[in-house]
Symmetry: D2
Subunit: 344 residues, 4 copies
């Protein structure tokens, strides 16, 4: 049995785990004040190319989204997201729990289209008064998106420009950022993202850590007394070292990129296998999540050897499933997948 169920089904990358083990007995101060958190912050500042960036570590993605959005929005503001954005429907109302509305706009391939955003903001901030409606106070993107797709540098630059024109911060959810950065089809680098966004996070949970997301405030715009706001949301870890040590490892010897590249390599090989077998893709994803359309009978048989994720019904006879790679995916896993699919 092999698993392509998701990119968080294994534990930590061995280099991450090794560092946790090596540092385990050191007595360290709590709440993110230890030297590994400091070192990890410094390495991340270098990696994003902003010596003044402010970096905080949170435990998971939903938490990072809710904390960042709710601490940066004003009372009367909501966050604009694509209707397929993760915060729009797959967080069980975590943003609304903080009292804020998610303002949705139509999407294309899982992405927000710059022109759509421009028109939305023009309509709101145009001639008519909209004081009876929630103000758009932040734009949320994820990169990669829910469908594994990516923004081009031109697209992100345009969205960033629109946001700045209205004085609205741009927030990029990078839960799977490592796979976006290492995609063969991207022209966006980590420093580009840091330049273009006001805040973003570098996902650890889905890119080799046991848990952890590194939130980066790029413009000295970290909310005042952020630690207290984090604590009151139940999001402050006593043993902050757990996050600091892991991110310190992820940003040592390019581990974060190596993890991303390996998963991309595995995904590309998987795509070749699928093409070879004539299995149609649901959409064209350049990252580690591949969405394929399988006949239900075949799927039934596949289940015995391969773990995958149900995505949605395609038609009465077919299903869309997601196959994800990660640092833990091996060539042998791909062989098992090939043989299992071959059997038809």
């Amino acid at each position: 049995m092999v698993s392509f169920e998701n990119d968080y089904n294994a534990g930590a990358h061995p280099e991450v785990l090794r560092k946790l083990t090596e540092t385990n007995l050191e007595p360290l101060s709590g709440y993110g004040t230890d030297p590994y958190c400091k070192s990890a912050r410094e390495k991340i500042r270098r990696a994003v190319g902003l010596p003044e960036a402010q970096v905080d570590f949170l435990v998971g993605g939903t938490q990072a989204n809710a904390v960042v959005i709710s601490t940066m929005l004003a009372d009367y503001e909501g966050v604009v997201a694509a209707e397929t954005g993760h915060v729009s429907s797959h967080e069980a109302g975590a943003i609304e729990y903080t009292g804020h509305e998610v303002l949705t706009v139509p999407q294309k391939d899982g992405k927000m289209v710059p022109e759509t955003l421009r028109r939305y903001l023009e309509a709101f901030f145009g001639d008519e008064n909209h004081e009876h409606m929630t103000f758009p106070g932040m734009v949320y993107l994820s990169h990669p998106t829910e469908y594994g797709t990516l923004y081009s540098k031109a697209e992100l630059t345009e969205i960033s420009g629109i946001c700045r024109g209205y004085g609205i911060p741009l927030f990029l959810d990078g839960a799977r950022l490592g796979y976006g950065l290492m995609s063969r089809e991207t022209d966006l680098t980590l420093p580009d993202i840091a330049q273009l966004c006001d805040v973003f996070y570098i996902g650890g949970t889905k890119v080799g850590a046991l848990c952890g997301e590194a939130v980066v405030f790029t413009k000295g715009n970290r909310p005042a007394h952020f630690m207290t706001s984090v604590k009151r949301r139940g999001a402050l870890l006593a043993k902050g070292r757990l996050l600091g040590v892991q991110f310190d490892a992820l940003f040592t010897d390019d581990l974060y990129y190596r993890i991303g590249r390996h998963a991309i390599d595995m995904a590309e090989k998987m795509k070749a296998i699928l093409e070879e077998l004539g299995i149609p893709m649901y959409l064209d994803s350049p990252t580690n999540q591949q969405f394929v359309v399988l006949e239900n009978g075949r799927l039934e048989r596949l289940r015995e050897q391969v773990a995958y994720s149900f995505w949605e019904k395609y038609d009465d006879d077919h299903t869309v499933v997601r196959l994800a790679t990660s640092w833990a995916t091996t060539e042998e896993d791909l062989e098992v997948l090939r043989e299992a699919l071959k059997r038809g």
Copy 2:
């Protein structure tokens, strides 16, 4: 330099870390559905003596308090706590963030006095209508308390009876439960607590885990769709294994109790050293946290060799500090403390 700063300054107990390492490469399903979570739940059910108990794993203590309180209270209810209770003032408003009031009552030695609670509830639910006030909807205790003190079986039984008389659930915060259970002065066992409380949690973060608290609903009273409520509070871990594996280790071969006992043994030796040196205790704590009164000059010198926690000013010349032991405390650490204090 040795550290008695707190009981969460080291990483994980070696047996916990070993289990994380051994299971690291296994592909496991997420969100608490993996076999280690299942096994840990089963072991905890046996340890608490309730085959039907419902067990959920959360990441930290503030989170556990906020999630449990806010999912169990009705809209118009608040939680009753001692004025020194952890939720009353040291969680940065995490309970209020969920929209609920903490109703405080006077304390004695950090504990809620049964008679105080009884009078408080009698006054509220007595003759007069109090519809303009928050209803008491839960009673919160911690065991050990903020001051390391413990409830006796008689006290907890009385409080439990008062709560049941009013149909109000009793919630016990066991962030440091291991030290309470292994105290030489306690007559309360884990099954007692499970019998007397409606919900409680077994603290991992401060008792040998990297992170994690095991919430136990004792009466089939787990809130409906609890997982969704956990997720919308940003508290659902994708790699739920991180918590399951750790609690599975903590409840294998009595590790949880061994950790507790070791810390208690170290604390008792520390008390003997303090007594021998004539250093006054601020209060009499039977658990792993000891509160001592030190002359400021002595404290200044101590700082060079021993990490401790500032608690509060005692008078112009003296300070109350907390010295905590844990699984990681060694006899050598105590010797360093003794020598450092001796120097005066």
Copy 3:
């Protein structure tokens, strides 16, 4: 200058004001416990045909929506509304402020289509687990809708049946209910609505009162300690008499219906004038709000004599405006409108 700007631009209907004046000096107990509140509740119970209905008075529509929705939903639930529903976008995020998500479904003529709702609920409660999404916990309709349109008895019956099939309460926002009930094209009566809905409100603010909405719980399903929940939302009026006296007047001698009928009569005459002048309607509304498409130049001139509401741009040369009637609209007002429009 005459006004068709909205249905709340005049004060109270003279019969309502007279009753306020007559009772002004009587000393009465507060918070809804006075005899006029009691009398109004009784009259409303008779009007809706449910002797056991529970009736509460709130001040305004946004408040009524937020209070009802947030006190009836479970923590993990959201409210399903048409994408054009009032709570979906025109309440400045008042529902989200209470921590709950508005789950939107497509609309037709401003209405929720029963089949759309059925499919939405089937998809959610079907085979797949959706614990990572907000549960649909209530269905929200308004009658009339934002566009002045009405549900037929068959439609409301079907929606009610779907809701009951899933055990989800049906909530009807009747901010303009009087106009719906008196429309010439409706087959829905107040007792029908009371039978088919779990909770609804009878709007006063827009139907002749200075302020006030009467919330009706039809099935003994008033949330426990509702008054306390109302108070903590800042929605409890000290001089509850202000609402009780007004609703007592509105439900004396059929005043509520007479107000509705007058406004409908005026709206029908307005439609005749518009048809006579060849002015196109934006949509066909059977209630007191009429939406017309006007050439921008004509609109510019109209503005000098007639107050209206901007609705939206139609195209570069035309605008959609709303013209509303109320108890205060007179035949003379209509004549001024006719002459103003005639001038072109």
Copy 4:
């Protein structure tokens, strides 16, 4: 039967009601944009002596407290109040509902003592880090207090100075401000209050209006897009005229002060009667609320002729009751009270 139950048991002062009647048929724009709201704002600005003050009208006191506090506090802040402050315990958790903590300090005669506040803030903002606690972000007073007592100009000046020293806004709840301003024992004027506070409100509900509180931001510090924040809290009145017309009347020909003075005159006469009859006061109140200690038997008999408010049990044989005067209290009412009490 006469009523001294509270100061909101009658309807509106006749001059207020007359103005509502006179303006009833005028078509006016909604949400506080009508000319009466404008006029009332202007008159209030003159009365408080601040031409630049920003004035908003809200419906009731709990609502005003919750809206002001929650829109002015930062996320990590709470409001400091006396332990007997109205927001501390008699609002059913309305402040906590907005996600913020009420930080209580000890009181004297229902008032916050400047020195107590100074020490509290010094302790918080002193040497030690308190990032795990809620930050004090506003100071709340009421004037008169829950016990009818008043701050002197010296006391308010001192508290104001302490607040400014820490950059914390001072908020004064003036639900009964009219009675405070007209007390024979006060040296605080409305302009004094406007100078010393950052925000306060002039209570209407308890001082002659049907409903309504005028919130005054004194330093150009009205929160951005306040109207939207008011709306999302369900606190925006469609017929804003209801509040504007009433406050316009209250600030015409000194009506607000005349109402206050009449109630004070009646209260002073009541005190003379009580003294004459040898009935002990529970405390010395210089405003319209008088707290007396009555033997239970006498109270039982009093109940037949006089409505009062139960305050609290004094001892097994005595009860503290509140007797309140208002604009509607007459000499005849006082005679009835005298005779009823005389009977013993």
